[in-house]
C-alpha cells in the first residue's frame, strides 16, 4: 500500500477541454468556483487509504478506469423503464448520462413559490441567486467527491421553495446511464433550497441501461432547509453492475427543520454514499437510513456524519447491509456534538448480515461529544441469519430458500418503513425481492 495520502487523478486533465462548454461557463463566479475545484484536484488528487475517511474504500480502480466526461449526447436508444413511484403523480426530471432529457421528463403545474428547473436551464437563464448556494452548502474543503462534482457538473436539478410553499407531489429525479459511449463519467448536481416552513419530497432513482458497461456517476446534492422546513429525500441506487456510483450529500438544517434520507442500494461495482448533515439551529431533526445489498465483488460504502452544533436536535442513523459472495461493505457513522449542543439526542445503529464466509464488512462508529447533557448511543451487529427463525419457518412447511428470502426482506423492513410514499415502499420491497430473485412472489 502506498504510504502517500493521495494519488494522482488523471481525469482532471480533461477539465480544460470541457470547462468552456459547461453551462454557466460565462459567469465569472461559477468559472472561478470550477477552476478552484479543478486546481484542488490537480494538487491533492484522490485520497488514499491513509486518509481516515477513505480507509476502507479504495479509489485506485476509479483512477485507473480511464473515464471521460460525457461529450455531446449520443442517441440513447431504448432506456429502461423506471417505475419506482408506481404511476403516482410526480414531477419527473429524467437525466440521461447526466443531461436533462426533456422528452422523457414531465413537470406538472407547480404551486406558487416553487421553482423546479434543470441546473443547466437555471444557469443559462442567469439565475443569480444560485451563487448564494452552489458551492456554499458543500464548500471545497478537500473532499475529492465534492471537488470533482464542482469542477465538472453541468446539469442536474434545482428545487427552490419559497417560505411556506408546499409541494405535495414528489419530485422524481431519474438518472439513467445509457452506455451509449464507453467509460463515460457524469456529475449530476442537485440543489434544494427550502424557505421557512416549506415542504417537499425528492425521490432519486439511479439506474443503468442493460449492457451499460463501465461508467461513473458522481452526484452531489446541496440541501438547505430554512426554519421549520421539511424535506423527505428518498433514493434507489440500482446502477449497472460495472458502474461506479460515488455520491455525496450535504444538508444544512435551520432551527426546527426536518430532513429524512432513506436509501436502498443494490447496484454499482463500487459505490459510496456519503451524507453530511449540519444542524444550523436548535430543534432540528434528521433520520438517515441506508439499506445496502451486495454480492459478487461489489463494494458499497456508507459514510455518514451528523454534526450537532446547536441544542435540542435529534438525529438517527440506521444502516442495514446484506452481503453475499465476496462483497465488501463499509459503514462509517459519526456523530459530533459540539459544546453548545446540549440536549442532543443522537443515535446510530448498524446491522449487517453476512451470507457468505468471504463477505466482509468494516464498521466504524464514532461519537465525538463535547457537551455534557446529551443522549447519544451507537450499536453495531454483524451476524448471520437466525437459525432458530429459519427452523421455525421450515417447521411450518416453508422451504429454506424461501425462509431466507423472507427473513432478508424483513431485515430491510425497518429501512423501507421510513418512506412515507406507499408506491416507493413497494418499489423498494420489490428491489429487495428482485435482488433475491423472487420478484414474482411479492
Amino acid at each position: 500500500m502506498s504510504a502517500r495520502r493521495s494519488f494522482e487523478f488523471p481525469y482532471v486533465e480533461q477539465f480544460g477541454a470541457v470547462s468552456g462548454g459547461l453551462p454557466g461557463a460565462a459567469q465569472p463566479w461559477l468559472a472561478a468556483l470550477r477552476d478552484d475545484a479543478a486546481a484542488r484536484l490537480r494538487k491533492h488528487g484522490l485520497p488514499s487509504a491513509r486518509v481516515e475517511e477513505w480507509k476502507y474504500t479504495s479509489l485506485a480502480s476509479l483512477a485507473e478506469a480511464g473515464f471521460a466526461p460525457v461529450g455531446a449526447p449520443a442517441d440513447a436508444g431504448t432506456l429502461p423503464a423506471v417505475d419506482h413511484l408506481g404511476g403516482m403523480p410526480a414531477h419527473r426530471l429524467v437525466f440521461v448520462d447526466g443531461r436533462l432529457d426533456a422528452a422523457r421528463s414531465y413537470r406538472g403545474a407547480l404551486p406558487e413559490g416553487v421553482t423546479l428547473v434543470s441546473l443547466a436551464g437555471a444557469l443559462d437563464a442567469g439565475e443569480s441567486w444560485l451563487e448564494d448556494y452552489l458551492g456554499r452548502i458543500a464548500p471545497l474543503n478537500g473532499n475529492a467527491l465534492v471537488s470533482v462534482n464542482t469542477a465538472f457538473a453541468g446539469d442536474g436539478c434545482v428545487l427552490r421553495l419559497a417560505p411556506r410553499a408546499h409541494l405535495s407531489d414528489p419530485v422524481h429525479v431519474v438518472s439513467v446511464a445509457s452506455g451509449a459511449s464507453q467509460a463515460s463519467a457524469f456529475h449530476p448536481r442537485l440543489l434544494v433550497v427550502a424557505g421557512a416552513g416549506a415542504a417537499a419530497t425528492l425521490v432519486e432513482s439511479h439506474v443503468g441501461a442493460a449492457g451499460a458497461g463501465a461508467y461513473w456517476t458522481n452526484p452531489l446534492a446541496e440541501i438547505s432547509l430554512g426554519e421549520g422546513a421539511r424535506l423527505n429525500h428518498y433514493r434507489i441506487q440500482a446502477d449497472g453492475p460495472q458502474g461506479f456510483h460515488l455520491s455525496a450529500i450535504r444538508a444544512r438544517l435551520a432551527a426546527q427543520s426536518r430532513y429524512d434520507n432513506v436509501l436502498l442500494s443494490t447496484g454499482a461495482a463500487l459505490s459510496r454514499n456519503e451524507i453530511e448533515v449540519d444542524f444550523d439551529g436548535p430543534g432540528g431533526e434528521c433520520r438517515i437510513a441506508s439499506g445496502a445489498l451486495m454480492r459478487g465483488h461489489q463494494h458499497a460504502d456508507t459514510t455518514i456524519l451528523v454534526d450537532h452544533a446547536h441544542p435540542e436536535c435529534t438525529s438517527r442513523q440506521l444502516f442495514k447491509g446484506v452481503l453475499d459472495d465476496s462483497a465488501h461493505g463499509v459503514f462509517q457513522g459519526k456523530i459530533v456534538v459540539r459544546p453548545d449542543a446540549q440536549k442532543t439526542d443522537g443515535h446510530q445503529l448498524s446491522r449487517a448480515l453476512l451470507l457468505s464466509d468471504k463477505a466482509e464488512i468494516d464498521t466504524k462508529p464514532e461519537l465525538e461529544i463535547f457537551a455534557d447533557d446529551v443522549k447519544c448511543s451507537h450499536g453495531a451487529t454483524v451476524g448471520e441469519l437466525d437459525d432458530e427463525a429459519l427452523f421455525y419457518f421450515r417447521s411450518r412447511g416453508i422451504d429454506e430458500e424461501r425462509a431466507r428470502h423472507m427473513l432478508i426482506e424483513a431485515f430491510f423492513d425497518e429501512v423501507v418503513a421510513l418512506v412515507e410514499i406507499g408506491p416507493l415502499r413497494d418499489a423498494m420491497t420489490r428491489a429487495v425481492a428482485d435482488w433475491l430473485g423472487t420478484g414474482e412472489q411479492v
Binding site: 437466525d386 437459525d387 432458530e388 427463525a389 427452523f391 421455525y392 419457518f393 421450515r394 417447521s395 411450518r396 412447511g397 416453508i398 422451504d399 429454506e400 424461501r402 423472507m406 427473513l407 426482506e409 424483513a410 431485515f411 430491510f412 423492513d413 425497518e414
Partner: protein, 250 residues
C-alpha cells in the same frame, strides 16, 4: 401413524435419548411426561427435524415413510406440526403473510390449490372466531411484542390452519394462565378426530385435565420408564418424579 423404534439420539456426542420405542395410532393422544432434562424436548425436535441432533441408532416411521430422511419443511407438509415451547419472534414479517405462506406451502404439497388473499382472509376469520383470537394480532409482525400466552395461541391457530395429522405439543402449558390454557386445549380438542393424533409433552399434569390422553408415558434418563393410561398422570401429580430420579436431571 407414528412408529419409533429403539431411537438413540446424541447432542454434541452426549447421548440424550437411549432407546425409545413408541407407537402412536391414528386418533390417539399420547402424553409424554417426565422430569426436566429427561429428553422430552429432544424427542419433539427429532420428530420435527431440527438440526444439531444426531440419531445414532433406531428409526422413526411416519405414515409408512422414513421420517428421519425428510427435511423439516417436508415433515410439516406431510402433516407433522410442532407447537413450540418458545415460539420465535420475527420482526418485519407480518403474521398474516407468514401464515399464508405456510398454509400455501402445505397445500401445494398436498396437491390442493393455493388460497388467494380473499379466500385466506375468509378462512382466517373462521379460525380466529373458533379460537377467540382478535384480528389485531394478525396485523402485527409475527409474535413481536406478544405475551407468552399470545404466542401459544398463535401456535394453536397455526395448528388449526394446517390441520396436521400428528401434532406435537412441546410444553404448550408453560407460561399460560388457566384461561389461556383452556383456550389452547379447546383448540387442540377441536382437531381431535379418528384420523389425527397428538403427542403432548409436558412436565405437569394440568394440561391433561383439559386434553385427556389415551396413553401416558414417563420419560426418564432418555428412556420410557413407564407407560399407562390417564391415571398415570394423576399418580405423577401426587407423587412427583422422585422415583424417576428428578434430582440428577441434566
Amino acid at each position: 401413524m407414528l412408529s419409533i423404534e429403539n431411537l438413540h439420539v446424541a447432542v454434541d456426542g452426549k447421548e440424550i435419548l437411549k432407546g425409545i420405542d413408541l407407537e402412536v395410532k391414528a386418533g390417539e393422544v399420547h402424553a409424554i411426561m417426565g422430569p426436566n432434562g429427561s429428553g422430552k424436548s429432544t424427542l419433539s425436535y427429532i420428530l420435527s427435524g431440527r438440526g444439531g441432533y444426531e440419531v445414532t441408532e433406531g428409526r422413526v416411521t411416519f405414515m409408512g415413510k422414513d421420517l428421519l430422511d425428510m427435511e423439516p419443511e417436508v415433515r410439516a407438509r406431510e402433516g407433522i406440526f410442532l407447537a413450540f415451547q418458545y415460539p420465535v419472534e420475527i420482526p418485519g414479517v407480518g403474521t398474516q403473510t407468514f401464515l399464508k405462506e405456510s398454509l400455501n406451502s402445505v397445500r401445494r404439497h398436498r396437491g390442493e390449490p393455493e388460497l388467494d388473499a380473499m379466500q385466506f382472509l375468509k378462512l382466517m376469520r373462521e379460525k380466529r372466531a373458533e379460537l377467540g383470537i382478535g384480528e389485531e394480532m394478525l396485523r402485527r409482525p409475527f409474535n413481536v411484542g406478544a405475551s407468552g400466552g399470545e404466542k401459544k395461541r398463535n401456535e394453536v391457530l397455526q395448528m388449526a390452519l394446517l390441520e396436521p395429522k400428528l401434532a406435537v405439543l412441546d410444553e404448550t402449558d408453560s407460561g399460560l394462565d388457566i384461561d389461556a390454557l383452556k383456550v389452547a386445549a379447546e383448540g387442540v380438542n377441536r382437531l381431535r378426530s379418528p384420523e389425527r393424533s397428538t403427542i403432548i409433552i409436558t412436565h405437569y399434569q394440568r394440561l391433561l385435565n383439559y386434553i385427556v390422553p389415551d396413553h401416558v408415558h414417563v420419560l426418564a434418563h432418555g428412556k420410557i420408564a413407564r407407560s399407562g393410561g390417564k391415571e398415570l398422570a394423576h399418580e405423577l401429580e401426587e407423587k412427583g418424579y422422585a422415583e424417576f430420579g428428578e434430582a440428577d436431571a441434566a
